[in-house]
């Protein structure tokens, strides 16, 4: 079966990232002490996994390179992700939410309500009526979660 260029480039990227990960394993394992009290030692598994990951990554990479010649162009083929921009926005919004709670010590209820509004506007509809609904949902959710976690699980959410 002929593969598309997008599939092949994805496989090449996977291969490169995996080879980098294998290299990291070798670097980390090289610092570990040699086995003393038992035959295997601490570094055996990292080395073994490094070799295996490098081997599988090489197979995937080589297959992708060979397939590149016979590859079909991407024209007309729908992307794996229909709207990557919206996905990126949701991820960034979540990062900001976590940073607000962690680094800026933002009040939990306010941050959560604003976060739900932001996600609602991004994935759903930015109309004022919808935003008001998301605000109510966010507030109720934040209060309910704080009640359960503080009262029953003894986790302070701030």
């Amino acid at each position: 079966m002929t593969r598309t260029r997008r599939d092949i480039y994805t496989d090449l990227a996977l291969s490169v990232f995996s080879l980098a990960g294998a290299a990291l394993l070798f670097v980390g394992a090289s610092d570990l002490p040699a086995a003393r009290f038992e035959p295997l030692g601490s570094s055996a598994l990292p080395y073994a996994l490094g070799v295996l990951i490098a081997l599988f990554a090489a197979i995937i990479g080589l297959r992708a390179l060979f397939a590149l010649r016979a590859a079909m162009p991407n024209a007309g083929e729908p992307s794996e992700l229909a709207n990557p921009g919206r996905m990126a926005l949701v991820f960034v919004a979540t990062l900001i939410y976590v940073a607000a709670l962690d680094s800026f010590r933002a009040p939990y209820i306010v941050a959560t309500t604003l976060f739900i509004i932001a996600i609602g506007a991004t994935i759903g509809s930015p109309k004022p009526r919808s935003l008001a609904l998301f605000a109510v949902l966010g507030l109720v959710l934040a209060v309910a979660i704080r009640f359960v976690f503080t009262r029953f699980l003894y986790v302070d959410l701030g």
Binding site: P33, E38, L49, I60, N83, L89, V98, G124
Partner: protein, 497 residues
């Protein structure tokens, strides 16, 4: 066993089971949300519970999560869970021709039958298997884990190499932290945060929940099809037992045995049972057009697969699927080691799982029978609010593990890892199982080599270990053997022509 049922019938356990099953059904009915994601998100809340309570809640969620998928599969042709894909083949055409209530009734009854029949296997086989597994030593456990990993990698959808790569990457992520044998830091690269390694929960929540939500967010905005909600009583008759009884039994037995094998989930079980029922039917042409046996076969098998998958979990500590891997995580969080010793050291947990599974199936029947109309309505909640709420749960759930935001950042990072792997068509199942089983495999291998003074060939004196190793190797080369046999067959045919 009787004592275990008494424990499950305590009011607190009964309420947890009810809540777990109910939430599971609702989540299972919502396309895009899975039982795996629900269990991963619930785990942080079980920290403060007794182990029995936690297990009861999670088993309820598991049973409910798989069963709920049939509602939207039948009403909307959108299976709530992958296990219900086959149910759409005949369930949706039945709903289209005004028989939605009948399809739901048969689906629910078949699900319960599948659950109860597989419970029979679970209750009957587990203590015996656990007793047998007591003979196992480190070599057997190491090869057993290896076998499970190879089977998962080989049988996961997509390429074998990618399955193996996923398992190896998952294992590699379990390495950072303090080496349990030597007590020294390993692969921490000077980071204090990495000294405690990557926690199971942030990894699971990141890989499953965050990556899934990001993918859902990238989906085009579309209106969900409006389902015609069931408005009449769900019709079943005593004569159905005669008409569909044999199909339920056969599909449930098939589902249980398929569930036993690592890596093959309820979706494959349902598909195999559906195909078998079709092959044996005198009305093959009616399948796919709204034929009742199709719904019965699919739903009996996918629920039975849960009971089957629980057998290796509690007897040997080997997860049959990702959900079982999370259940293993839940047990280890409560300082319990799944495996044969569970029946000796913590019988209340081992038998508790079995009893909770039976009661959860009965609860699922009662809940779904009475509330199917309302569950169908909940499944149509706008996803924008739903995904935002789940993201909040992910963040708070990861934070609550150690009251630390480091875990939340790790969860976010693993969200990207999960998304990247999925985009590259690398299966997540072997990744997670590799992550969960790697510490066990390494510990057992080290113990084996210490026992044999570093002699690898000592494995030759362990017949069970050799057997597991042989299956692992066969699993690995199975696709190549099939391919080779296929080519030879082709050549012989051409020569004959």
């Amino acid at each position: 066993m009787f004592d275990a049922f008494l424990v499950v019938f305590h009011l607190d356990n009964l309420l947890l089971l009810l809540a777990g099953t109910a939430v599971g059904i609702v989540v299972g009915a919502i396309p895009g949300l899975t039982a795996t994601m629900l269990i991963a998100l619930t785990l942080p809340m079980t920290f403060h519970m007794e182990a029995v309570n936690a297990v009861t809640l999670l088993i309820g969620e598991y049973v409910g999560g798989i069963s709920g998928g049939l509602i939207t599969a039948i009403l909307l042709r959108m299976p709530g869970t992958p296990s219900s894909i086959t149910t759409t083949f005949d369930g949706y055409p039945m709903a289209q021709t005004g028989r939605a209530e009948r399809a739901l009734a048969l689906g629910i009854m078949a699900s319960v039958a599948g659950g109860i029949i597989s419970w029979g296997f679970l209750a009957g086989m587990s203590p015996t298997l656990a007793h047998f597994a007591l003979q196992f030593g480190p070599w057997e456990y190491f090869t057993l884990v290896l076998m499970a990993l190879f089977m998962l990698a080989a049988l996961a959808s997509g390429s074998l190499v990618k399955g193996l790569l996923a398992a190896a990457i998952g294992m590699a992520f379990s390495l950072p932290g303090v080496d349990s044998s030597l007590g020294s830091a390993r692969l921490t690269f000077g980071s204090d945060t990495l000294l405690s390694g990557f926690g199971l929960l942030p990894v699971l929540i990141g890989v499953f929940a965050i990556s899934q939500i990001l993918r859902e967010a990238a989906e085009p905005k579309k209106e969900k099809g409006k389902a015609r909600l069931p408005d009449r009583k769900l019709p079943v008759h005593w004569s159905d037992a005669k008409v569909h009884g044999m199909n339920m039994l056969r599909s449930s037995v098939l589902g249980t045995w398929i569930g036993l094998l690592p890596g093959i989930g309820g979706n494959v079980a349902a598909l195999v049972a559906y195909s078998t029922t079709r092959q044996l039917s005198k009305e093959k042409e009616k399948f796919g057009t709204g034929h009742e046996p199709g719904v019965v076969a699919s739903e009996s098998a996918n629920n039975a697969a849960i009971g089957g998958a629980l057998i290796p979990l509690i007897t040997m500590g080997i997860p049959g699927s990702v959900t079982e891997a999370i259940l293993i995580g839940a047990l280890t969080i409560h300082n319990l080691q799944p495996g044969p010793l569970l029946f000796q050291n913590s019988p209340e947990i081992a038998y508790g799982v079995i009893a909770a599974y039976a009661v959860a199936n009965v609860m699922m029947l009662i809940l779904m029978w009475g509330t199917v109309r309302y569950i169908a309505m909940i499944a149509q909640i706008p996803r924008a609010g739903l995904l935002g709420a789940i993201l909040v749960f992910c963040v708070i759930g990861s934070y609550a593990v150690n009251n630390s935001f480091s875990d939340v950042w790790i969860m976010m990072a693993f969200g990207l890892v999960g998304l990247g792997l999925e985009l590259a068509k690398v299966p997540l199942g072997p990744f997670v199982i590799g992550f969960v089983l790697s510490p066990i495999a390494e510990e057992q291998l080290r113990a084996s080599l210490m026992m044999s003074d570093g002699d690898v060939w000592a494995i030759l004196h362990r017949p069970y270990a050799l057997f597991f190793l042989a299956i692992a190797v066969l699993t690995l080369f199975y696709p190549m053997i099939i391919d080779l046999l296929g080519r030879r067959g082709g050549k012989t045919e051409s020569a004959n022509v």
